[in-house]
């Protein structure tokens, strides 16, 4: 009787194994056919972050795999309807040695992970400049309701929801928000960083494969939040220069004066890419500073008068 039972069970088990394999095969085929940005880095920083992720997962498997094996084995072996002989020790409730082992081994693993974490956190600090033969370009990022404004101070141009960067060149972002908090994220190039009103954060990244990479906001910021997507186009240095020259030469494009900025800053949804020439000097700093000025309240437009540079801050 017991044998028959076992046989039936084994058949059931084979079916399960088959089902499982089919699921894994389908998922595998599916996953290899789609683009998974975090796992397919195209930039120096994202690549290091990806490698770190894999390292940590592998180290953790040292603990996790035994847990699964032990669970399955104990459940199988010590079931009360398992006919095979097994020991039953209802009063066995402790053993210093083996308890010590599972205090110690996880501690050692966490110790190793801690060292890795400590070093990686310093190495991959978003504020840390990337060493490169090419000098970095600076981009100022302003999260608005609900779009991204990118100012290229050295190139004297600005763009909305379109970021162009040269390959193999560190890009140094300064970021803020003139809206609720957002999080700036281009998964294939680097991890994210918050953009907060009245504050400035920084981020370095470097693309080393040409292509167009999606970026977006990772922090809810109101009804247009889902539409805050932009394209990042990484091209060769000469391609980048051509892009810059084209915009600078296009006299149909408006200048990004304070007035133009104020119009742009009004809440809008799903904004297509748009370009500006000649962003007002210190626009970025003025956007941060206005939050520090007495009498300022949300939604108040930015006027050149309220720029601290003029020294007439008080409204």
């Amino acid at each position: 009787m017991a044998r028959i039972l076992l046989k039936v069970k084994t058949k059931k088990h084979w079916l399960l194994v088959l089902l499982f394999s089919v699921i894994i095969a389908i998922s595998g085929a599916y996953l290899s056919s789609v683009n998974i940005p975090v796992l397919e880095p195209k930039g120096v920083i994202a690549d290091k972050e990806f490698r770190l992720l894999i390292t940590v997962v592998l180290i953790m498997c040292i603990v996790v795999v035994p847990v699964f094996i032990l669970l399955a084995y104990f459940i199988y072996k010590y079931r009360d309807d398992n006919p095979s002989k097994k020991r039953y020790s209802p009063d066995w409730d402790g053993n210093r040695l083996i308890e010590g082992i599972w205090w110690l081994i996880p501690s050692v693993i966490i110790g190793v992970l801690s060292v890795i974490t400590w070093n990686a956190t310093y190495a991959l600090n978003p504020y840390r400049p990337i060493k490169s033969i090419n000098p970095p370009i600076v981009v100022q990022v302003i999260a608005l309701d609900w779009k991204w404004l990118f100012i290229y101070p050295a190139q004297h141009l600005a763009s909305v929801n379109q970021l162009n960067i040269p390959l193999n060149t560190p890009v140094h972002f300064y970021l803020t928000s003139d809206a609720p908090m957002n999080s700036f994220w281009i998964p294939q190039l680097s991890g994210q960083i918050y953009c907060m009103p009245g504050m400035r954060t920084q981020l370095y990244l470097e693309a080393n494969q040409a292509g167009t990479y999606k970026g977006w906001s990772a922090n809810i910021s109101g009804i247009g939040f889902a539409g805050m997507m932009f394209n990042t186009t990484a091209t060769s240095r000469s391609g980048f220069n051509r892009w810059v020259a084209k915009i600078q030469a296009d006299h149909n494009l408006p200048n990004l004066s304070f007035g133009a900025y104020n119009r742009l800053a009004k809440p809008t949804l799903y904004v297509p890419a748009r370009y500006y020439r000649q962003p007002a000097t210190d626009l970025f700093q003025a956007i941060i500073d206005k939050y520090m000025l007495p009498g300022f309240s949300y939604g108040r437009s930015l006027t050149p008068v309220s720029s601290p540079a003029t020294g007439k801050g008080v409204v």
Binding site: L31, V34, N35, I36, P37, V38, A46, E49, F50, L53, V56, M60, V64, V67, L70, L71, I75, Y78, D80, R87, S89, D91, W92, D93, G94, E99, P106, I110, L113, S114, W118, A120, T121, Y127, P180, M181, S183, P187, G191, Q192, I193, Y194, M196, P197, G198, Q202, W216, S217, A218, N219, I220, G222, I223, G224, F225, A226, G227, M229, F296, S297
Partner: protein
Amino acid sequence: MSGAAYFASFWLGKLSLKALPPSAIQWFGASLMILVPLGIALLLSVTHRWKWLYHEWLTTLDPKKIGVMYIIVALAMLLRGGADVALIKTQQALSAGSNAGILSASHFQQIVTAHGTIMIFFVAMGLMFGLINLLVPLQIGARDVAFPFLNATSFWLFFGGMVLVNISLILGDFAATGWLAYPPLSELHFSPTVGVDYWIWSLEIAGIGSLLAAINFLVTILKMRVKGMNFMKMPMFVWSVLGSMLLVAFAFPILTVTLTLLALDRDIGTHFFTATGGGNMMMYVNLIWAWGHPEVYILILPAFGVFSEVVSTFARKRLFGYPSMVWAIAAIVLLSFIVWLHHFFTMGAGSDVNAFFGIMTMVIAVPTGVKIFNWLFTLYRGRIRMASPLLWFIGFVVIFTIGGMAGVLMAVPPVDFQLHNSLFLVAHFHMMIVGGVVFADFAAITYWFPKIFGFKLNEKLGRLAFWLWLIGFLLSFVPLYILGFMGATRRLNHYSASLGWQQLFIVSAVGAAIIGMAVGVQILQFAVSIYQRKANRDKTGDPWDGRSLEWSTPSPVPFYSFAKTPQVSTRDAFWEAKKQKQTSTPQPYEDIVLTKNSPLALVIAGGALIFAFAVVWHIWWLAIVGLLIVIATIILRSMDEHTEYILSASEVERLDRAYLKAGGLSK
């Protein structure tokens, strides 16, 4: 302002016809919120049960009944939060590219916020406090909690918070900010409607209720254990509750402060978290997580406790490594206060700060891992009964371990930069909260149900529900891990079709639908079990061959809990007593002091609810009325010197014998 407008704004504050729901789906929700209570009221009237309701439930100060009420409310809210899931998942499965889905952005965000808020505060917390009320006094051999009236007040405040959240479906809107309402988005300028106020005040009331409950159970556990039960003989569930309640006592005041400051910003124009005026929005984020991270452990510790009880009972073996378990709880309690910054590594803090908080977060994995190994070795050389509570445990270990691995991954700051606020994070914490807390609660409900109601739940349907839950859950959340790697962020009401996310969102929605079926099966399980209650009757009082004191009482537990004060000299006191066949030396019955019912706890919470509702809508006269009701009721209650009554020894004996006869207990 004209006279009429002034009149209206004095009497009604911001309330007007515009507060009624704008869309069809919202009308549907609102009508449900009106029809369900109306239906219940009608049912009560038809069956003439109002008096019964009042005497047996509304005015009760018996922790066992309060526990049942907590669980009923929490399960009802599970359905409400589940309805939110149905809408969220449908929206996300549909709204790729040119398809805008079924919900507006604002409505979607409100639903996401409501889902998080309700599931954490009114489901997970409710189930937890329900179990604590039911079990802690019984497991420590006490007939009551330290402060029965305070306990009822806690429950009714929780209830009031729940009511307020649901009123937002009918009048006005709910916060559209995400469940922790970060400023400046939650400030008046960006969220000018009452949504955030509903969020603030429902959590404020429920939070104060939780704080009072924690004080109550700390004193209960520390001061009311039966003679002989020293700390190292307490059941592990009681230990875990002690840890959890300590965390509540230290963390919830922070929540109270944070919510109040946000309310002050919105209502009287202070500058705590505004970006302008010298406020500091990141201070809010720090404060809310200084509460929020301990909150996670507040929920998970009692879940660990439940599994400790379940595993040792169903392995028919003593819990392995009891002192290790206690130390693990202590370590988790301490560490949980120094990890909060891992929720915002992406703020741009220095490497040293990020690295410190990252490492502290990983360190928590050690005591958690120790607990899992201890449970596994409790199974080792046991004699395992595969009943459904143990199935939930197995599901828990699988899901919690995967989720925990994801957690450690995100504790590494540079990795977190790539995973923060993505659906990977969403999958992680659902695996911890559902796989950990909710599965434990289901195990607990199955396990202790006969103790409270006197009959077992249908096992077949219980197993079916478990498998549906497990499959549905994995199908729903494993795709979210992948979507996270694809860069999908949380709270997206819409996404570009070119990203290739839609298939996975559809798979996830199918998973959610299977969970919906699982919940349906659970409802059926309750219905069938109640229908067959005679056949499933637990006559022994000890249907699972239990180990702790609650199993020494008849099922259902009489209102005085223990006819005779139990005697404890070891861990697993009841198990040891059974083993030694040592029917304790016949003790005489004693007079028992019990607490009288009181409607005043309900009145206090009612006043608090009126106050909160009035503040949400700026109806200041009503707020004063609510506050006066609260104050007057407290004073009234404090005047009452006769809050207790005596059950005489002879009466106890009569009742106990009746129980023994009815239950067929042979003791």
